[in-house]
Assembly symmetry: C2
Homo-oligomer: 483 residues x 2
């Protein structure tokens, strides 16, 4: 009966993770490759997940007095250069504009790789007095960084969408508080909406943001054992306020430099969702961020059944919608129910409701969960209560499963032998002691590809010598290979 | 008592409109100039108006099956060239990227001046069968066009934010219907939310979008007598589907090219709001798009009054918020009430509520309208009802006033003498007969600066000869000088 060829995911997630990811992204129509290396089109389902992320996070930060604004995409080269570390960190990947129309520009312009430099230029004009502080602005925008090797849709692309918050404060304490507050909100968003568990902590000096005083981060662990930096929140000290001369008159009439922060999460989170929850059939979207939570598939073989079943389905849609559940009926002709099941399983809709002739007769429907394929017959009277409950269960189950994986993939490595062996065998997070010297960190990276993902906020008890040099350890840190 | 210097708008709107606009934009903190010619930062109040516009329009189009997506910023030059008219129209203002980091690119990349070419490239991969149609996508994004002369914040900038809808259909009728549907929604948004009246109609061949078959437009009239194109909706025929080979298998198994549309509104609308409604005191925001609708200014001279008054104010805030009215209390110290009145008048908050010691005693508040400064004493019991009603009245009054101006500024010109005299004396829209020849249109533009803004959808009755050449007229059209 189906006229249109259907091709599902042809590799197992456990066997070829990279190819599996590529197939899910393309076949679930989340993204498609653009003509310029490393660029993608973010298709409607993925974009709708991004809109959910935006709504949740936007509401959070607006409640605490943050506001959105928009700053220019193009940054003159000399602005970028004002903070030396920052420039060094970003310049290799900047896209440079050199002409408008046929006119060569006097100075080349960077397409923003991040906006500290341009935003701080404005802040230096806007901030005059302690009355103007804090400044709590955020922007939702596109960012460009020329990625040359191993681009991957959502995870690493030359253009991506993000939010970048930029705040200015009268004291360092306030700036640090802001940095930590945002990291907490990030964690809440990612764990409680995207169902992706994360570890939070600081970055080492080597891994911190170019120009930051302190970088805090949340790190997720993907099923292939690689860590994914899911969001960062920086305290920039007075590095940028000195470079850009952002001064204010304090309450005692003294000129002071402000203390700034910046923080961002991006469309990379969509990649984290795909990787974390998907299975061999395709995408699985957590109900809280799924643009469609329920698909109803009517099943009929004779024309006279069709009318009755569709009427039932429409009544159910009304009821679910009234209760804030997003749902649609797949009543397309020319496709078998089985074809439709596969289609929506691949596309990750969290729940399917089937209504057939028998179900109408028995005043029931069939509910099928996307996360574990459990099938339940539910009496019509109880559908509404049941759907809400099961969606909550799916949300919870996805998180618990991922959390279990994260715990099981965290290994304490007592020495370098064990460290390397574990890394090779299963990857994951390696809990190890570290002397605090950058040399050891660099050597580990060079020899194994693993970097320090997290320095815990709360010092953990030292259980041995530095994993690399064997000298006195100063910290317990978490290493991993990362995207 | 006030510690901080306050400077209001120093020119009259009627005396130096251009300078007045610049001051309002800067002093009401709507925008500030960026380092690159023609770029601006969109500050929080203006951005909040943009968010309101986004919410209203997004809801409209989602109800009719449109979805949001995101397409790459960078477009290889050869893509732009595929539709010849389009390329010719946009190439003089394109920002070109030639390098990433230190590497010269093989082909230069355009920063999107509009996205027909890149989006249609994807559509040619995604559309195969009639089952895939219609495709109804929209994106909210930034657009860059190098504007060399007479840039003006919001009105004409080298970078702006917009939405661009791009749809593909099986038939031309469907595409035209889409084009007109969108134009209707634009008109509803602009008139009923921004309180800016518009005329709608078609563009002449000369004025239409580069690559379009038909361009429809809505045109507003600014207080200086110049027209402002406030949004356009195009039927692109098969121009782009042929250039980009977007074909589908129809129900009869035949390959056909799709019919496409595109349509956009931008942050220019913020400029239209500022120009249309503002007065000598500054900005006036229509209540439906004002981020803050009501400011409460407590008035007290003694410490013991303060507590009582603030308590009243807070009770009122609760009540208003519960009813969906956005409100805040300006309880800053170190500023006089008068200073605060000026501040919020300049920043355009539609309504002010004053609460002083007498008001507390008399169980009343004072309501002051921003649009006409009318002051009303309102009993506490009736505040809620009253505030809602008065906000509605302000919204309506702003529209009625602007609509009256639009009518009064539309002049029927019987001959070229009258045409030129009226244009010089007061500008506005000139209703004139036209032979339909591009030569006449070009000459009028050359000699007077006026262009055909609207060819009415419904032919108006011809009342004379062509305003320029004096030959037989084919249409009644509306000319104006325009931004």
């Amino acid at each position: 009966m189906a006229e249109v060829k259907q091709e599902g995911i042809t590799v197992k997630k456990s066997e070829n993770f990279s190819e599996w990811y590529t197939q899910v992204v393309q076949k679930a129509e989340l993204a498609d490759y653009g003509p310029v290396q490393g660029t993608i089109a973010i298709r409607e389902t993925a974009y709708a997940v991004w809109e959910k992320i935006q709504n949740v996070f936007d509401e959070k930060i607006k409640k605490t007095g943050h506001k959105n604004a928009y700053f220019p995409l193009l940054i003159p080269e000399n602005f970028l250069k004002k903070e030396a570390e920052h420039f060094k960190g970003f310049v290799p990947e900047v896209f440079w504009v050199t002409h408008t129309g046929e006119n060569k520009l006097g100075e080349r312009l960077a397409i923003r790789p991040t906006s500290e430099t341009i935003i701080n230029t404005f802040y230096s004009k806007w901030i005059r007095s302690w009355r103007d502080l804090p400044v709590l602005l955020n922007q939702w925008c596109n960012i460009l960084r020329g990625e040359i090797k191993s681009t991957k849709p959502f995870i690493r692309t030359s253009e991506f969408l993000w939010q970048e918050g930029h705040t200015a404060h009268a004291t360092e304490e306030e700036a640090e508080k802001e940095m930590l507050y945002i990291l907490d909100e990030y964690k809440d968003l990612v764990e409680n909406y995207l169902a992706v568990p994360v570890l939070t902590g600081k970055k080492s000096e080597m891994e911190k943001f170019a120009g930051a005083k302190t970088t805090t981060t949340m790190e997720a662990l993907m099923p292939d054992g690689k860590a994914l930096q899911a969001g960062t929140s920086h305290s920039l000290g007075q590095n940028f306020s000195r470079a850009f001369e952002i001064k204010f008159l304090d309450k005692n009439g003294k000129q002071q430099h402000v203390w700034t922060t910046s923080w961002g999460i991006s469309t990379r989170l969509i990649g984290a969702v795909v990787m974390t929850h998907g299975d061999d059939k395709g995408l699985i979207l957590p109900p809280k961020v799924a643009p469609v939570q329920v698909v109803i598939v009517p099943i009929f073989y004779k024309a006279e059944e069709k009318k009755k079943i569709l009427k039932k389905a429409e009544e159910l849609v009304e009821k679910l919608k009234e209760n804030g559940i997003s749902v649609f009926i797949d009543d397309r002709e020319g496709y078998t129910p089985g074809w439709k099941f596969n289609e929506w399983e691949m596309k990750g809709i969290p729940m399917r409701i089937e209504i057939g002739p028998k179900d109408v007769k028995n005043k029931q429907v069939v509910i099928v969960r996307r996360d574990n394929f459990k099938k339940t017959f539910v009496k019509e009277m109880e559908v509404l209560k049941n759907v809400g409950k099961v969606l909550d269960e799916i949300q919870k189950n996805l998180f618990v499963k991922a959390k279990k994986f994260l715990s099981e993939s965290t290994t304490t490595a007592k020495d370098y032998q064990e460290f390397k062996k574990t890394l090779e065998r299963k990857g994951g997070l390696l809990r190890a002691c570290w002397c605090g010297e950058q040399h050891c960190e660099e050597q580990v990276k060079l020899e194994t590809g693993a970097t320090i993902r997290i320095v815990p906020f709360k010092k953990e008890k030292i259980f041995g010598k530095c994993v690399y040099c064997g000298k006195e350890a100063k910290e317990v840190v978490y290493f991993a290979k990362a995207y």
